[in-house]
Symmetry: C2
Subunit: 334 residues, 2 copies
Amino acid sequence: MSELGEKTRRYIARVAGLVDGYIYARVHGEPPVLYDAALHLIRAGGKRLRPVVVLAAAEALGAEAERALPFAAAVELVHNFTLVHDDIMDRDEMRRGVPTVHKLWGEPMAIIAGDLLFSKAFEVLLDAVDKGVPPARVVEAARRLASASSTVAEGQAMDMMFEEEEDVDVDDYLKMIYKKTGALFEAAAVLGGLAATDDDKILSSLAVYGKSLGVAFQIRDDILGLVGEEKELGKPVLSDIREGKKTLLVIYALSHLDEEAKEKLRSIIGKRDASREELEEAAELIKRSGALEYAEKLAEEYSSQAVNALSVLPRNEYREILEELARFAVRRSK
Amino acid sequence: MSELGEKTRRYIARVAGLVDGYIYARVHGEPPVLYDAALHLIRAGGKRLRPVVVLAAAEALGAEAERALPFAAAVELVHNFTLVHDDIMDRDEMRRGVPTVHKLWGEPMAIIAGDLLFSKAFEVLLDAVDKGVPPARVVEAARRLASASSTVAEGQAMDMMFEEEEDVDVDDYLKMIYKKTGALFEAAAVLGGLAATDDDKILSSLAVYGKSLGVAFQIRDDILGLVGEEKELGKPVLSDIREGKKTLLVIYALSHLDEEAKEKLRSIIGKRDASREELEEAAELIKRSGALEYAEKLAEEYSSQAVNALSVLPRNEYREILEELARFAVRRSK
């Protein structure tokens, strides 16, 4: 993450240490194989961006990191739960540079491991009462996380259904990625706020920040799925094309290419046994349509929205970190 | 459920109406196919025993049913979430007389549908603050439900691992079914209590009631898996044998039959392509071992423990319903 400034990188490392420590302390039990499967992706790394959003929002508003830690750990657990189940549904074999959970432990164990991460997320979130967060605010935080999790499920279902649909447009796509990615970032920002305050105006602005950041982040993900480096990403490039994902780039290309190019592209998208050459050809067609420039511009708009939403927060180093994250979301290479 | 008295049957019908109404009012959204998949098993019926435990415990302690309704609906949602995922893992094709969710919508949609039921369970539980349950007690209820859900995941993992293990004993089995079934009944009883009180002695006794009821219930399930009527159960009899489930009956038979019979039984258990005749032969061997009588006696003991734990509750019609449920658990034919 060389695009980030030194201060932010140090903050991310601090948060990762705190959150990982908290998760490892709270998530253990029997049978050990279940817990190994559940913690596998967390141990494999990951950027811990959602916990950073939780803690930076809390600290920007003057709360102790310790107080918001259960919320940060809970959001990261929900994120990892969705990854474990997503990988099963997409039949992905690699994630964060390691084999996926179902690849190593089989589908049944991967399903339960995901379920366990989800229930542990709520166990951990509710620890916040022991850290002095008032019960009514802990209830509100739990409601936001539960509701975001339902929204993520809706987004996953939409994403899956889009693979079979011909006429997905940009609005459908934006709604889907808000649900699939934006909603959990939104909850992360609001939960951080709830560790410090119940001021509606601040919480609403944090919601806009998180939502916009998440959408910007996901658009960048689509871009990296086309032009990213396999080694940096820890997963195969162009697999979105093979899986028939309706990414923003694909949607744009399908409505801007000439008929012949469009037909060619359509014949490769979703072709499970597509050759490397075919995938490269599809990528070329997408690039030729101007989709990359379009996606980059749209991501920039969401990134700016996120930064602007932070104006209600006091100016301090934590707000700066949140701002930098929003700018980083659209520039990152992994 | 002809074994139950008229009054209890009427109470169960009332609870089912309340809980189903509450669930349908709270669980809807887009895409509709996801919600259809998620509600499929709930629409197919089921006994709603866990919500009955929640509401009867609450009403026995003087709380309004309305106040405990979010807890009752939440527990039923968690139960159905575990069924949807369990059916995928066990590759079961029928449940409650209808095809299972993954059979109708495919595995990916069934995984998400289960996840959605789980997040909706927490959304619904947290509604209790709007019904006047104090936030601190709602937090406690959510903690109990989250912790029980983690325990269920542990139980499912154990159950799955037992299929591959040779030397599962009765203690292992009882630990597994406490986790897989007892823990959620335990949470149901405690959540009902929390709608009315935070008296530790009462909550602990309710925990013992729920736990013992759940274990008695699961032992009866194992018995019905061997001697039940397919039509009444809504799922195939003897499928436990085909799937290699280490039920109490199988464990008992494997340690009480002579060597020859044991070898025969072992050769059929877990044989996915076993013929009807082979399954019947395995069932005969299990019966010959005395396993049925043993299991019935053990279930009776848990049932009595459950009834005894209720002595801390005031004597009233709701307590009587809880008592009758505990007796019904070991006599039911479906």
